[in-house]
């Protein structure tokens, strides 16, 4: 019984990380209709930079700050490249080339070995939970994802920027006609996503090991979460992250190597009943 509960807790903390990864991905999609295929590359770039900073200075917080800012700048560069092509589909295909370049750059600088970022000192002491010890850092990830989720909710619902973003998501031509500078909004969304994904990379790199190929698997999880939750919806990606996190953790604990079928099956069942995802809306 405790074992199941423990896997449940694992799933929820993992969902926290997945939500942070997927929320930026879904934000870009919602506003620009572009699938940013370099999203996984953003993640490992943030993780690698945070790893190096943490290694050099011993300061974990400095690592995640520098990591997210660096990815924010990278995202800005990607944004300028993407804006040179017209149409969502060519833009999406273009980001695939960018993903290859960032992935190969990381391989060149940091080599092929998988790495993990050292834990920050404030989560060193494990928590006693259900008669066993549980790493505190995972709860920190969960708390951080709640802060990120809350912050995004506040930004989208309560601020002028959020209103503009929602307007841009719902009806881009109309928002543009009302005098909103859509181009500037796109840039902002990309930078925001870069910061957020860099942060998730730095935090996720402390949570689970990363290396070459992680960019690919992170992109998979981001895609599955966002498709399941409904593309472009932030609450949807929270719900999708929760489902994927739980199914994946429990699947890995009990059915081991065929856990991926469980994930695929969940996705298929969700899409059979809700073709646009759990909280997705009709186009």
């Amino acid at each position: 019984m405790n074992q199941i509960l423990l896997q449940f807790v694992n799933g929820i903390t993992y969902a926290g990380l997945l939500f942070m990864i997927a929320s930026g991905f879904t934000l870009i999609f919602g506003v620009m209709r572009v699938i940013n295929m370099s999203h996984g590359a953003f993640y490992i770039l943030g993780a690698y930079i945070a790893y190096t900073i943490q290694k050099q200075t011993g300061n974990w917080v400095a690592g995640i700050i520098v990591g997210s800012i660096a990815v924010g700048i990278t995202a800005l560069i990607v944004r300028t490249l993407v804006s040179r092509v017209k149409g969502a589909l060519p833009q999406t295909v273009l980001t695939l080339g960018i993903a290859m370049m960032i992935g190969d750059l990381c391989l060149y600088i940091w080599g092929g070995l998988p790495r993990t970022i050292g834990e920050p000192t404030f989560t060193m002491n494990p928590i006693h939970l259900l008669g066993s010890t549980y790493p505190t850092f995972r709860f920190f990830v969960l708390a951080l994802s709640c802060v990120v989720g809350g912050g995004m909710w506040y930004m989208l619902q309560r601020t002028q920027l959020g209103r503009i973003l929602r307007a841009g998501t719902d009806n881009r031509p109309m928002a543009s006609a009302l005098g909103i500078n859509i181009d500037r909004i796109f840039t902002l969304v990309f930078i925001l996503t870069g910061l957020l994904t860099g942060l998730s990379g730095a935090v996720g790199g402390t949570y689970i090991a990363f290396g070459p190929g992680s960019d690919f698997s992170i992109l998979t999880y981001a895609l599955v979460v966002v498709i399941m939750g409904g593309m472009g919806s932030i609450p949807g990606s929270a719900l999708g992250a929760l489902m994927v996190g739980l199914v994946d953790s429990i699947g890995r604990a009990y059915v081991h190597e065929v856990a991926i079928f469980l994930l695929m099956g969940t996705l298929i069942i969700v899409l059979a009943f809700r073709p646009r995802g759990l909280l997705g809306r009709e186009e």
């Binding site: 490249l81 092509v85 589909l89 391989l107 073709p275």
Partner: protein, 318 residues
């Protein structure tokens, strides 16, 4: 018009002559590369069938390719099944996978379709990686034995190249016949105006679905050629760089014409081979070329030369 058709016949004859005589004047290494290009090119043609003729950008073609390759690899090495069972079974397997993926992705359009097929393709990568007792995980199946045709083993490069050449030409002719048939014309009509085609009584979903399954089967044939070419199948058969390779081949060739897939595949495989000789950062070069093609040649090499005013089908966003 007449001069044009003479010109075409000459071009086709020259290309065929070059392709058939290649083993006599090219080093064996290049024949191996050409053999690889044919399998990639066939898969790129299956991509073009969906992208150029149906307006659906599918990133799952390499999953169908890998499915057929896995059937051959596991069937030959682990189960020891005969080739006359495995060859049809591998193509059937690829079609089966495309039928599943298609059933899930068919309702999505444009960029949504791309996203669905990419996610499904990546989940298939995960299956190859994690279902170790069947797929042998990370390492995959290596050293796959090749069949014999008329007493000649396909283990040696030249007979394998000729076999691949014949198979690719047959598949190309079949695909060409298909896109010019009433079925293919209906697909192009659906690409341009699905609402109108539906009003005319065409079952739009069914047409699209059948096109996905057909393209899956041809990608599967590409996978069989590919697994015989390299002798290896692993999750990397279907990883992001493999997807990039086949999509780049289609983009370079221009997604508006089937033969673009072969031309693009030869260019792509040669590009990767040349750059990997000078630098180990060749994926960076490939990524950059990929970007440059998207930025400056959105219609590809053949696309620009032949039809200046043809829109890239991918340009239509929803």
């Amino acid at each position: 018009m007449k001069a044009n058709s003479v010109y075409r016949i000459v071009v086709i004859a020259v290309i065929l002559l070059l392709a058939v005589t290649a083993p006599y004047w090219l080093p064996l290494y290049y024949i191996q590369l050409l053999d690889m290009s044919l399998s990639i090119g066939l898969t790129a043609m299956s991509f073009i069938l969906l992208a150029g003729y149906c307006g659906m950008i599918s990133f799952a073609q390499m999953a169908f390719y890998a499915m057929a390759a896995y059937v051959i690899g596991i069937g030959t090495m682990d189960l020891g099944w005969p080739n006359w069972v495995l060859l049809p079974l591998s193509v059937a397997g690829a079609s089966f996978l495309s039928a599943i993926f298609g059933a899930i992705a068919i309702r999505a359009k444009g960029v949504y379709f791309l996203m669905m097929t990419l996610a499904l393709s990546q989940l298939f990568y995960g299956v190859g990686l994690e279902w170790e007792s069947v797929t042998h995980g990370w390492n995959g199946v290596a050293g796959i034995t090749r069949p014999e045709i008329f007493g000649v083993s396909l283990l040696s490069t030249t007979p394998r190249y000729y076999t691949a050449l014949v198979v690719t030409i047959i598949c190309y002719l079949m695909l060409r016949r298909l896109v010019r048939s009433p079925f293919g014309l209906a697909l192009q009509g659906i690409r341009d105006n699905p609402t109108k085609m539906a009003a005319l009584g065409f079952n739009v979903h069914l047409y699209r679905y059948i096109a996905i399954i057909i393209s899956g089967a041809f990608a599967g044939v590409g996978g069989v050629l590919g697994v015989y070419s390299t002798g290896v199948v692993s999750p990397h058969t279907n990883d992001l760089s493999a997807i990039v390779r086949v999509v780049l081949a289609a983009l370079i060739g221009g997604v508006t014409r089937l033969e673009g897939g072969i031309v693009g595949a030869v260019v792509t495989v040669l590009l990767i081979s040349f750059t990997s000789r000078y630098t180990s950062r060749y994926w960076m070069v490939v990524g950059a070329v990929f970007m440059l093609v998207m930025l400056f040649l959105p219609n590809g090499i053949l696309g620009i030369k032949l039809k200046k005013n043809t829109d890239v089908p991918s340009g239509r966003s929803t």
